[in-house]
């Protein structure tokens, strides 16, 4: 089968990841922003990076839908568990 | 009767038993439906020569019916039970002015702390706990703890007056359980859990630990004395007097 199909520019994604990591590091130092904002930003960046890896390196972006479902199905379950565990402390 | 629900001796024992019976009726009907149905089918449709089964892949109306009925029943049951649940265990369910008692569980005994005349329980610190001199870790620096009465394996409660227990556990999880009061609550290390009840019938009951807590779990038993308010006051009074005498018992 032909292999001259277009494929994501892996180097570009690598640059993305490096930059985002750098940003995260910047956030790690004492900054004039509230703890929660910082937390939110860090999580946002982490998820962004995770998505890049998942979508391009693991080609989820190019897989059929039912394989994508398979890949994300456990995540809500894990979140339910965490949410329940945390709810112990907010009542 | 020993093989049925124990006597009711608290305000919500009655409603819990009602819930139990309601479910017993719902499930009882279902039970009869299913089991009798099975028996009838087994007899009626047993294989007989020359007979062929009725060829069908099902019936949507029938399935809708026997999906909908349980669904509705369950939702109603859920709503009904939740009302009671909130009354008993809800965050703000503890009646105002309830008589406070501290309950400290450890392998394999129960320690009860009564507030004494000032009606206030003293502060307790795990760090202060000492097997012989200070079993519950009462903090002597806290004025409220001065007149507190600490009793081993004997729970005294007034009837007709709500009681709120502050459950704490020293080592592992234990569980506070008085069948006649229909009250059960785990005592969890690291948590202070409030549980309340109001005894109605004076008498002697048994408090059992209902959470496996080690090899002595089976004998982690305490006596419960439900007094009339008057008797309770006299008991508390002479306990307080004694306490003045020789500190904690």
């Amino acid at each position: 089968m032909e292999t001259a199909h277009k494929r994501p520019n892996y180097i570009l994604i690598w640059v993305y990841l490096a930059v985002l990591t750098a940003l995260e590091l910047g956030l790690a130092f004492e900054l004039p922003i509230s703890k929660n904002v910082k937390l939110a930003l860090l999580l946002f960046l982490a998820i962004w990076k995770a998505l890049l890896v998942g979508l391009y390196f693991m080609h989820l972006k190019f897989e059929r839908w039912n394989l994508r479902i398979l890949a994300i199905v456990p995540i809500p379950l894990a979140l339910i568990l965490i949410a329940a565990g945390m709810s112990e402390h907010i009542w | 009767m020993a093989w049925w629900l124990p006597a009711q001796a608290s305000t919500f024992a009655g409603s819990i038993d009602k819930g139990f019976l309601a479910i017993l009726i719902i499930t009882g009907i279902t039970f009869v439906l299913v089991e009798v149905g099975l028996i009838v089918f087994v007899i009626r449709y047993r294989a007989r020569p020359g007979r062929k089964a009725h060829y069908t892949h099902g019936s949507t109306p029938a399935e809708v019916i026997w999906t909908a009925i349980p669904a509705v029943t369950m939702v109603i049951l859920g709503i009904a039970s939740n009302g009671l649940w909130v009354k008993i265990k809800g965050r703000s369910s503890v009646p105002a002015g309830a008589y406070t008692i501290g309950v400290h569980a450890k392998q394999f005994e129960w320690w009860f702390t009564y507030p004494g005349p000032d009606g206030k329980l003293g502060r307790v610190k795990q760090s202060l706990i000492d097997k012989t001199s200070n079993p519950t870790g009462l903090d002597p620096d806290d004025p409220a703890s001065k007149d507190d009465i600490v009793v081993r394996n004997q729970l005294h409660v007034p009837t007709g007056h709500p009681v709120v227990l502050y459950l704490s556990a020293e080592d592992v999880i234990h569980s506070f359980y008085v069948p006649q009061f229909r009250v059960r609550q785990d005592a969890v290390p690291g948590l202070e859990i409030r549980v309340w009840f109001e005894a109605t019938v004076p008498g002697n009951y048994e408090l059992g630990c209902s959470m496996l807590c080690g090899m002595g779990h089976y004998k982690m038993r305490a006596q419960v004395f439900a007094h009339t308010q008057a008797d309770f006051d006299t008991w508390a009074a002479d306990r307080a007097a004694k306490a003045k005498g020789e500190g904690t018992s």
Binding site: A84 | S15, T27, R46, G58, R91
Partner: protein, 588 residues
């Protein structure tokens, strides 16, 4: 794949030149692995049974020397009198063996392995070597668990639920090595069941024969498939928890240690987040198998096949959001309790669909009461009781009273013995010919069924009353409590019934071994069933089919009007049947 694989397998099937070791010990053949699992799990079922007998002796005749008990070491039963610390080990190991190593292995180990390829028309599992690894790690796990009973200070003793901190602190539980071995064994077990699950899921998705569309799969396969998903996602959580517990025991970590900020309830959340899906792992395959047995016994298509499938999925889904019903009085956030109650109650709905559809299947059928059918019907009757008792416990206020009493124990055994185990007995008899080429004895099979049914109810039904009277679980000697003294006669009655129950299992034991060697040779299709597995000789050759069979219809086409026999195999091509598309998995 088809052609290639088929060719290579034909070679196998014809002259099977594998050495004995490769063929029967380190085999990669799903059928052999299934049989290995069968022996392993039945062994553990027996062990669990023996432990139960000792439990019952202590409860029925507290403090009396147990017959043969003097064989036990002083640390367990001096002079044959069971010690409290030994009693809680008995209870813990009984629960552990029965849940993890008997029922779970019997259903997910034996029948997922044996049935999936045979019933979907595959040559073998997708990953035969991983399959073998799964068996041997389960074997290792079982070995470790068994060994833990023979270490000096005895086995784990915190109940099969292993609540921390009791399980984490040897100074409080009195057992160090025993507790650690439990954790190790469970970690190994977790590995085994993940390897198994990913194999089953891949196989069902990818390796179905032409024409075997999703909605032509037998309900047993549907159930095993969904169960595999539950196992895949739930067991790793248990493994993670067991790892933390092990670290707590050997590295002195503080996950569950409140003194250092750890949380005691964390263990319960982790355990039950696994634990409730686990109990559905223990029942769904039984439900699937029962569906097959009942349809065959009724000579009638399953009533509402599609809704049966959706009910399985519904139960599996709800199973993820109900775990808190084990923690109503644990000090958990009561608002959380309310939501867990509602989700739990809702499980009655898909279960209702299943129970009533089984009855619908029998309705106007032509019921043949061969032994598997008996067990199938017994399953429905008994599981219903167990399920209904679950409703009491699901209602939070009532559970506050009956939690951790024998009411729960009754529930456990009605769903697990009356449910799972009855279906398993049926399955063993039903597929015995496929496994060993011989039939199990019919007459003795019926005797075993009826005696078991009788003594089983005599044993476990009164436990409801014990629970209602307030009899706590895991209680070495109820007579400590005055209010439990009047229950002693009932306890003694239960114990005697339990001994008789165990006794009647001997019939099965003998029948099993006798039939394996002396039973009458099995005809090609002994139960006149439609399943693909019956198109093969018994026992089926390595690689099953030379070329995969073609499937023309669902598995439950019994008593089709206008047909001479009352069954219509899935592979039988009628003039009206079209050849299936080669990629059935996309819709049907």
């Amino acid at each position: 794949m088809t052609t290639v694989a088929a060719a290579s397998h034909t070679a196998h099937a014809h002259h099977d030149d594998r050495s004995f070791i490769k063929k029967y010990i380190f085999s990669t053949d799903h059928k052999i692995i299934g049989i290995q699992f069968l022996f392993l799990s039945l062994f553990f079922l027996l062990v669990g049974g023996f432990l139960a007998m000792q439990i019952r002796w202590q409860l029925g005749f507290p403090g009396k020397p147990m017959p043969g008990g003097s064989l036990l070491p002083e640390t367990m039963a001096p002079g044959g009198v069971i010690l409290p610390e030994y009693y809680i080990q008995l209870v813990t190991m009984h629960g552990t063996f029965m849940v993890f190593f008997a029922i779970m292995l019997l259903l997910v180990g034996v029948y997922a392995n044996f049935l999936i390829p045979l019933k979907i028309g595959a040559h073998d599992m997708a990953f035969p070597r991983i399959n073998m690894a799964s068996f041997w790690s389960a074997f290792a796990a079982g070995g470790v668990m068994l060994a833990s009973m023979y270490v000096p200070e005895g086995a784990a003793r915190a109940g099969w639920t292993m609540y921390a901190p009791l399980s984490a602190r040897e100074d409080l539980s009195g057992a160090a090595l025993g507790q650690q071995l439990w954790s190790v064994s469970i970690i190994l077990f977790g590995l085994s069941s993940v390897l198994g699950s990913l194999n089953y899921i891949t196989t069902v998705i990818n390796n179905r024969a032409p024409g075997m569309t999703w909605f032509r799969m037998p309900l047993s396969i549907w159930a095993l498939f969904i169960t595999a998903i539950l196992g895949l996602l739930a067991v790793p959580v248990l493994a993670g928890a067991a790892i933390m517990l092990l670290f707590e025991q050997v590295l002195g970590t503080h996950f569950f240690d409140p003194a250092a900020g750890g949380q005691v309830l964390l263990w319960q959340h982790l355990f039950w987040f696994f634990g409730h899906p686990e109990v559905y792992i223990l029942i769904l395959p039984a439900m699937g198998i029962a569906s097959d047995l009942i349809a065959n016994g009724s000579r009638k298509p399953i009533f509402g096949y599609h809704s049966m499938v959706f009910a399985i999925c519904g139960i599996a889904f709800l199973g993820w959001i109900v775990w808190g019903h084990h923690m109503f009085v644990s000090g958990m956030n009561p608002t959380l309790g309310s939501s867990f109650m509602v989700s739990t109650l809702l499980i009655a709905v898909p279960s209702a669909i299943k129970v009533f559809n089984w009855m619908g299947t029998m309705w106007r059928g032509n019921l043949r009461f061969h032994v598997p059918m008996l067990h199938g019907v017994g399953f429905v009757a008994m599981f219903t009781i167990g399920g209904l008792s679950g409703i009491f416990m699901a209602a939070t206020p009532v559970d506050m009273f009956i939690h951790d009493t024998y009411f729960i124990v009754a529930h456990i055994h009605y769903v697990l013995f009356g449910g799972s185990l009855f279906a398993i007995f049926g399955a063993i008899v039903y597929w015995f010919p496929k496994m060993f080429g011989r039939m199990m004895n019919e007459g003795w099979g019926k005797v075993h069924f009826w005696l078991t049914m009788l003594f089983y109810n005599m044993t476990f039904f009164p436990m409801h009353n014990l629970g209602m009277a307030g009899h706590m679980r895991r209680l070495y000697d109820p007579n400590i409590y005055d209010f439990l003294k009047p229950l002693q006669p009932l306890n003694t009655f239960i114990s005697i019934s339990a001994f008789l129950l165990f006794g009647s299992q001997i019939i099965f034991f003998v029948n099993f071994w006798w039939s394996m060697f002396k039973g009458k040779k099995a005809p090609l299709n002994p139960w006149e069933d439609n399943g693909l597995e019956w198109t093969l000789p018994s026992p089926a050759p390595h690689g099953n089919w030379e070329t995969p069979p073609t499937v023309y219809r669902g598995p439950y086409e019994f008593s089709v009007p206008g047909m001479s026999e009352d069954y219509l195999p899935q592979t039988k091509k009628l003039p009206t049947d079209r050849e299936p598309a080669m990629t059935p998995a996309h819709g049907h």
